[in-house]
């Protein structure tokens, strides 16, 4: 279980501090699928980076399974069981897809094991296993490989920052199936940042983040109809754009 308690994050500007995250509290319980949504610039990606430890909060606490991890770095949090799929996957010259999956799994994977993770994200494994994770891969391929590394880690909490962005041909159904299969593992919880109605639609809980604050949170069946009814015009216009959002 992940808990955020009154987390704030400020950035220094010329002669003042600007608040990006303003007193955010929420919980991602075990085995639950939580989606954070909201307008661009509302602080969603920053929140994901705070959870992974890439950024440190200005105040507040982050707890994983009851342990205070606020002061821990990225490596320690990863080892405690947090995975993170970046919105913009990183390329590496000379590192092959199979190397990245092995690093993610933290052990020697057989080729067939590695292939399973690639097949799960809709990539024909044989074609990709020995490819370099470099500029020769398209944005959509990079995005799927990023998701495959999270699968290979098999941690209790997985955070995805806009996993749907840039995935063109691969159907949404497959992405959703990935999430469903992950949830079947005992206690695996998933936190996704998304604008996509079809991803919001499989959430247990939806959190609406705007202007650095939680504006609303609740069960999907309570909150989603409200969001779709344009109670919060800015957010809803984004959500209702539908299709694949490439924004941010």
């Amino acid at each position: 279980m992940l808990e955020l308690k009154n987390v704030t994050f400020d950035v220094e500007e010329a002669d003042s501090a600007r608040e990006i995250i303003r007193g955010v509290s929420f919980t991602v319980p075990d085995s639950k699928f939580v989606v954070i949504t909201g307008p661009n610039g509302g602080g969603k990606s920053t929140l994901a980076r705070l959870i992974m430890g890439i950024e440190k909060p200005s105040s507040g606490q982050i707890l994983l399974d009851g342990q205070d991890i606020t002061a821990l770095g990225v490596t320690e949090r990863a080892r405690l069981g947090i995975s993170f799929a970046l919105q913009q996957p990183v390329r590496f010259k000379g590192i092959h897809v199979v190397d990245l999956l092995r690093l993610a799994a933290g052990k020697t994977l057989s080729v067939s094991e590695a292939c399973e993770y690639l097949s799960a994200v809709g990539l024909c494994a044989r074609d990709y296993i020995d490819r370099e994770v470099n500029a020769s891969l398209s944005g959509g391929e990079m995005k799927r490989i990023e998701i495959a590394t999270v699968l290979a880690r098999g941690t209790t909490l997985s955070v995805f920052d806009e996993p749907e962005a840039g995935i063109d041909l691969w159907s949404f159904q497959s992405l959703i199936q990935v999430f469903e299969n992950m949830q079947k593992r005992s206690h695996a919880s998933i936190l996704v940042i998304s604008h996509q109605e079809r991803i919001l639609n499989i959430a247990d809980t939806i959190i609406l983040l705007a202007d650095g604050k939680v504006q609303a949170q609740g069960r999907k069946d309570e909150l989603l109809p409200e969001l779709l009814k344009s109670t919060v015009p800015v957010t809803c216009s984004r959500i209702l754009e539908g299709g694949v959002s490439h924004a941010q």
């Binding site: 992974m52 890439i54 770095g73 990225v74 490596t75 990863a78 080892r79 995975s83 993170f84 970046l86 913009q88 996957p89 990183v90 590496f92 010259k93 000379g94 590192i95 092959h96 190397d99 990245l100 690093l103 993610a104 933290g106 590394t149 880690r153």
Partner: protein
């Protein structure tokens, strides 16, 4: 008999753990420590200066030649001339390389001068690894000079690797290509401490439909200094590409000088050069997989120099 140090050097530079198969010549501390010719590959000493001639009969296929050099005495300095005469239609692998172990206080140096005369329609793979070790103050120095003359329709792949322990190196490589010939060079280099490495390529594309791809990847750490020059001259309808990609770390210095000369309107030449530190987001990504910062850096460098 080879000493334990010499055996270890051989394993580092040529992956040799026992006597190689096929033709070979092992030079240890300035003397011949083993040699074998085969029916198709003849190795003989030069009558007038240190070094060997390697003659490969036309049509020789799937054979290899190993010619490693190891130095384990401090203060040893030598210049060795090796000439390769490769007949038409050969398909061979040549593994050279030099390892120096210097635990003394005097400099040790090996300057290998290699010249390849390659016939028509050959496929040649040349692998050259350089390695140095030792705790003494004496430097480990290597200054290889390589000349490659590639006949019509032949294809040559050169892999040049220097990853560890060579204090000072000046590499100079000259290649000349006839019609339809192809040259691919992969250079991998890592320098650390106060090391200095210079590498200079000149490739002349003389014949129509000749092509060259010269790629260098290097990592400069600590206070080391690297200089890379790559010059491609297109004298006919040809295509040439040279690329220098360097990771710079600590207080190192890297100078990359790609140079193109087109003497023919149909010459298509491209150069690329990039120098930069390891990207922060690469380190963060690997840390999210559970690696420490140092482990992440090592993975990135190992991949880059693969």
């Amino acid at each position: 008999m080879l000493s334990e140090i010499q055996k270890r050097l051989l394993a580092e530079i040529a992956d040799l753990h026992k006597t190689p198969e096929g033709a070979y010549n092992i030079r240890a501390d300035g003397e011949a420590a083993g040699r074998a010719s085969t029916a198709n590959i003849e190795i003989s000493s030069k009558p007038d200066k240190p070094g060997i001639d390697i003659r490969i009969k036309p049509g020789t296929k799937n054979e290899s030649v190993h010619i490693p050099v190891v130095l384990s005495q401090t203060g040893m300095k030598e210049v060795v001339y090796n000439d390769f005469f490769i007949g038409d239609g050969c398909d061979v692998v040549i593994v050279a390389g030099c390892g120096i172990s210097n635990c003394g206080d005097q400099d040790s140096a090996h300057d290998g001068v290699h010249c390849f005369h390659i016939g028509r329609d050959c496929r040649v793979k040349y692998v050259e690894k350089h390695y140095g070790e030792g705790t003494g103050r004496g430097k480990r120095i290597m200054n290889p000079r390589t000349e490659v003359f590639i006949g019509e329709g032949s294809s040559v792949e050169m892999e040049m690797v220097q990853i560890k322990g060579v204090d000072d190196t000046k590499r100079s490589t000259l290649a000349a290509l006839d019609a339809g010939a192809r040259l691919v060079v992969h250079e991998r280099l890592m320098t650390h401490a106060g090391q200095r490495a210079e590498s200079e390529y000149t490739v002349e594309l003389n014949g129509p439909d000749s092509s060259a791809d010269v790629v260098s990847r290097s990592v400069a750490r600590d206070k080391s200094v690297q200089l890379y020059r790559s010059r491609i001259v297109g004298k006919a309808l040809c295509s040439g590409h040279t690329e220098c990609d360097a990771i710079i770390m600590d207080e190192a210095k890297v100078l990359a000088v790609p140079e193109l000369e087109a003497d023919c309107v149909d010459a298509a030449l491209i150069h690329e050069a990039a120098i930069g530190k390891i990207a922060g987001d690469q380190i963060i990504k690997l840390m999210t997989l559970g690696l420490t910062e140092a482990e992440a850096e090592e993975q990135i460098i190992n991949g880059f120099l693969r």
